[in-house]
């Protein structure tokens, strides 16, 4: 019971002050029938050592990216996180703080959010960004919902191959919310927005001008989804978009089996009052000194209740901090260099794989991920590679395999991958 500071004596004294004979007397409003008199079918408390042993044993049953040549991407990427990032996010002042609703004692968190918003706006070529959302998939849904609020239309066009998990989430939200239609193809006059993932799920970078024109012709908004935010260091920014959203896990966060990650969201300034999520703004204090506060909260659920733009309450505060520290370390040159190193790794991987008999690279263009076609079923190949200790990519339909490389990928990793893959095929 190491987390409980009360002593038996203190409990007795407090009960006396309260005027109760026992703690159970304080629970008297709970009807008899609703009380659980049997013991729970759960073990009793354990010391730190035992808990650590139990959970470590579970962790050791998994193959981590640190233990195997790793070529899986598909929206979640294995990157290096500098030590300073993890140190900063474990500082008590950030880790154990609350949402900054009391700005006088939360300027640290607030200035970080302001810097985070600035990073996202600049990277995506947009005017404003929010304080973050749960993840790329829910950010994409929020973008679609926002486009529907702005245009008062209820159809969503998917313009390029969207991450299949994002697509599932989009379909589930739209079919469970009310009569909203999600379709693949070009926008018509009932379309609220085009969702354009770039690079698309198969790794192909998209060109925005053509889609901008298609949207303008029918009055739809253009929403660009970025799965791999590092790509923005090598590719032109989606400045033509009305909304840019996606996943920023690649900067500062481990893959962590799918979360917590970092959904980002930016847009044109004219749409801010329709934006979901928290926003941090600059202001002054009573002495005229610069400070920061959460602002425009009249959009949010705690003020507007049933008339809020979204039911979202939280952001991914600590994840946004990790991102901001990592971006601060990378800076202008470091971020671009990181992007080019990712592209370089992918180029090396493509060149090496294309030398294997029967293996072809499907993409003409890519950033750090592309599709290869194999002479046999890719899901079987992925399992065989796992048996050989290689996490070999994501099996698409039939013989197609999606593979990624990052700055973590070494020449030796690629050699081993090519060697084992040649044997399996």
């Amino acid at each position: 019971m190491r987390y409980l500071p009360q002593t038996q004596n203190a409990r007795k004294e407090m009960l006396k002050t309260v005027g109760a004979t026992s703690v159970d007397a304080l629970f008297r409003d709970i009807p008899e029938e609703a009380r659980h008199d049997k013991p729970f079918d759960l073990p009793n408390h354990q010391g730190e050592l035992q808990v650590e042993r139990d959970l470590s044993a579970l962790s050791e049953k998994n193959i981590s990216a640190q233990d195997a040549p790793f070529f899986l991407g598909a929206g979640v990427y294995y990157h290096h996180v500098p030590s300073s990032v993890d140190y900063i996010i474990q500082r008590s002042e950030f880790l154990t703080a609350y949402t900054p609703y009391q700005p006088e004692i939360a300027q640290g968190t607030l200035q970080v959010i302001f810097e985070y918003q600035t990073f996202i706006a600049k990277l995506t070529g947009q005017e404003v960004a929010n304080a973050s959302l749960y993840c790329g998939s829910t950010a994409t849904v929020e973008a679609a919902l926002m486009a529907m609020r702005i245009t008062k239309r209820n159809k969503i066009a998917i313009g390029s191959v969207l991450h299949p998990e994002y697509r599932k989430v989009m379909d589930s939200y739209m079919s469970n919310l009310s009569d909203r239609v999600v379709f693949d193809g070009e926008p018509d006059e009932e379309t609220a927005c085009v969702i354009l993932q770039s690079p698309d799920f198969f790794g192909n970078p998209q060109k925005y001008d053509e889609w901008r024109q298609k949207c303008d012709a029918v009055g739809a908004l253009l929403v660009v989804v970025i799965n791999e935010i590092v790509s923005l260091g090598a590719l032109p920014p989606p400045a033509q978009a009305d909304i840019v959203c996606g996943e920023a896990q690649s900067i500062g966060l481990p893959m962590s089996f799918g979360g917590p990650h970092l959904g980002f969201f930016s847009c044109k300034e004219k749409y801010i009052r329709q934006m979901p999520g928290r926003l941090c703004g600059m202001t002054e204090d009573a002495d005229g000194r610069r400070g920061f506060v959460l602002t425009l909260s009249t959009r949010e659920q705690h003020i507007r209740r049933d008339k809020a733009t979204s039911n979202i309450c939280t952001n991914q505060g600590l994840c946004a901090l990790a991102f901001t520290v990592h971006m601060g370390l990378l800076g202008e040159d470091g971020f671009k260099q990181l992007a080019l190193l990712n592209h370089q790794s992918a180029c090396k991987l493509a060149d090496a794989l294309s030398l294997i008999d029967g293996v072809d690279i499907e993409n003409t263009n890519f950033f750090n991920e592309f599709v290869v076609t194999l002479p046999k079923d890719s899901s079987v190949v992925v399992e065989d590679l796992a048996t050989a200790g290689i996490i070999g990519g994501y099996a698409l339909d039939g013989n197609r395999l999606l593979v990624a490389a990052t700055e973590m990928t070494t020449d030796e990793d690629i050699e081993e991958f090519v060697h084992v893959l040649s044997e399996i095929l």
Binding site: Y3, P5, A10, M14, A20, V23, A34, R35, F40, Q46, Q50, V51, L55, N62, A65, L72, V76, Q90, R91, E93, F94, T99, P100, Q102, E104, A106, Q107, G108, Q111, A121, K122, T138, H163, E165, Y166, L177, A234, P254, F257, G258, G259, P260, G281, D285, R290, T295, L296, I303, R304, S310, N311, C313, L329, G331, E332, G334, H343, Q344, F366, I391
Partner: protein
């Protein structure tokens, strides 16, 4: 802007510093000379550039402006700011948890799936609700998952005409916002003078537009409620609701009052979310990440989102798909939730165990009652005469307002005296409410010091020191901030001013 006096730091923005000619990371040189992206290279982005010590110092200095649970008492009602054990941080960072990918073959992540399965079992046992879905990313997301589950159940059962969700006026703002998002109409129910929902008020709302309540989809109730009280008539209310064909959604924000002691299934709950970042101590992190699994009855489990983790006869674990459960509403988040938070929460649960968790709710409730009794003479405590509270004590500024001191002033005075304020102006059922949740991780000594401070504030208010209050806080890195100015012409990112 930069500088400091004693230990008070000023720190400008990254963009306002003198840039270095090299970044804060050393990366290998780029060898390729041409791109295969099919596009032009990125031009200047407009990012700052600093070395590692400059960046580290920047964030450490800013951190000194934050108050946190490790600094002191954080009596924020409905938010459960309790101690965050560092063991949980350590375990979430084990390479077999931190560096695994959600789309790896399941054969390579059996330990992670087993952990999720175990967490599902703990939550199922503690709530009495066996259907557990871990995917929701936060409390509000869990609410969405829960209300969509109700919607889906009605739809599948040919009850799509049920369009109304009942909720008390004391509910969290996320409740009505979620119901509306799911296409429901919200019918608000007034809280009675006792601070609870009465059977009479409930019946009136239930049968208002249909004599059998056949247009009611369900109700969203927080229990214990946001007035800090257990809904005494909840058994009768939930029975009436069930008889009318509606489902009971329980907002789990206040589960810390019940954990290890009372199972929500036993007072009629059909589906609820659990805030792992409240009851199970995953850190708030300055506003996230949260984690909001839902727990539901076997009946509703057919409709809740996929995937959850199932154990096969051979002892292996896998994620179920829509093919396993075609009645499911689908997927509400890519992959399977905030796994890093699942690791932390399970570590916390195992540390406490069944005996420890029971002690958690008992101490949380005792601490709140101790505060209520210690302060009910100094402050208006609207429900104190009716008996004990649960894990939160509700006060208002009624007495202090006569001296021109409001709840906001009291909050800012607490800031001046070194505390994070309680939740203010919530719930909305009375003017000037202050909701105090001490949690179980405060000692009597810590609470006594808080009580002394609150008594001093009440005394000062009575002595007519209103002017002093209006200028609080004085000792913080910034004084009161101009929120109107921030909203009038929003500046949401740094722009270079020439």
């Amino acid at each position: 802007m930069d500088g400091n006096r004693g230990l008070h730091y000023e720190e400008n923005l990254l963009w306002e510093k003198e840039y270095s000619d090299h970044p804060g990371v050393d990366l290998p040189p780029v060898e390729i000379t041409s791109l295969r992206t099919g596009q032009d290279a990125r031009e200047t982005i407009g990012l700052p550039q600093l070395s590692e010590p400059q960046v580290l110092r920047h964030f450490v200095r800013m951190s000194t402006w934050n108050y946190s649970i490790d600094h002191g008492f954080f009596p924020l009602g409905s938010c459960t700011m309790k101690h965050n054990p560092r063991l949980n941080e350590k375990l979430a960072r084990l390479k077999g948890f931190a560096h695994i990918h959600p789309m790896q073959s399941e054969s390579t992540v059996q330990g992670a799936l087993e952990l999720m399965h175990e967490l599902q079992s703990w939550l199922g046992e503690l709530t009495g609700l066996p259907g557990v879905c871990l995917t929701p990313a936060a409390g509000a997301h869990g609410e969405l998952a829960g209300v969509m589950t109700i919607r889906r159940a009605h739809e599948v059962n040919g009850q799509a005409q049920r369009k109304i969700i009942l909720t008390p006026d004391s509910s969290h703002g996320t409740n009505p916002a979620t119901a509306v998002m799911c296409g429901f109409e919200v019918r608000s129910m007034p809280t009675s003078e006792t601070g609870c929902l009465s059977v009479e008020v409930f019946k009136e709302a239930l049968y208002k537009t249909d004599p059998n309540g056949a247009d009611i989809a369900g109700m969203m109730v927080t229990n214990p409620n946001t007035c800090g009280l257990f809904e005494k008539e909840i058994l009768e209310i939930s029975k009436l609701l069930h008889d009318a064909g509606g489902y009971f959604y329980c907002d789990g924000a206040n589960f810390n009052a019940l954990v290890g002691k009372v199972r929500p299934a036993d007072f009629g709950v059909d589906v609820m979310h659990i805030n792992l970042h409240k009851t199970f101590s995953t850190p708030h992190g300055g506003g996230g990440p949260g984690s909001g699994p839902i727990c539901c009855t076997e009946e509703l489990a057919k409709y809740m989102p996929v995937p959850n983790v199932v154990k096969e006869d051979d002892g292996s674990y896998r994620r179920e798909t829509m093919e396993d459960r075609p009645t499911s509403l689908g997927t509400l988040k890519a992959f399977q939730g905030q796994f890093g938070m699942h690791v932390r929460a399970l570590s916390y649960m195992k540390s406490h165990g069944a005996d420890g968790l029971k002690q958690v709710s008992e101490d949380a409730v005792l601490n709140a009652n101790y505060i209520l009794r210690s302060l009910c003479d100094d402050y208006h405590a609207p429900y104190a005469d009716n008996g004990p509270c649960m894990h939160e004590a509700l006060l208002t500024d009624k007495k202090q307002k006569q001296h021109d001191v409001t709840t906001l002033d009291i909050a800012k005075a607490l800031v001046e005296y070194g505390y994070h304020p309680m939740t203010v102006y919530f719930p909305l059922v009375l003017p000037g409410t202050m909701l105090i949740e001490p949690t179980e991780t405060e000692s009597k000594d810590s609470i006594d010091r808080f009580v002394t401070t609150m008594k001093k504030i009440a005394q000062d208010a009575q002595e007519g020191k209103a002017e002093e209050f209006h200028n609080f806080p004085q000792s913080t890195p910034r004084k009161r901030l101009d929120e109107v100015k921030a909203a009038r012409q929003p500046t949401l990112s740094w722009k270079h001013v020439a």
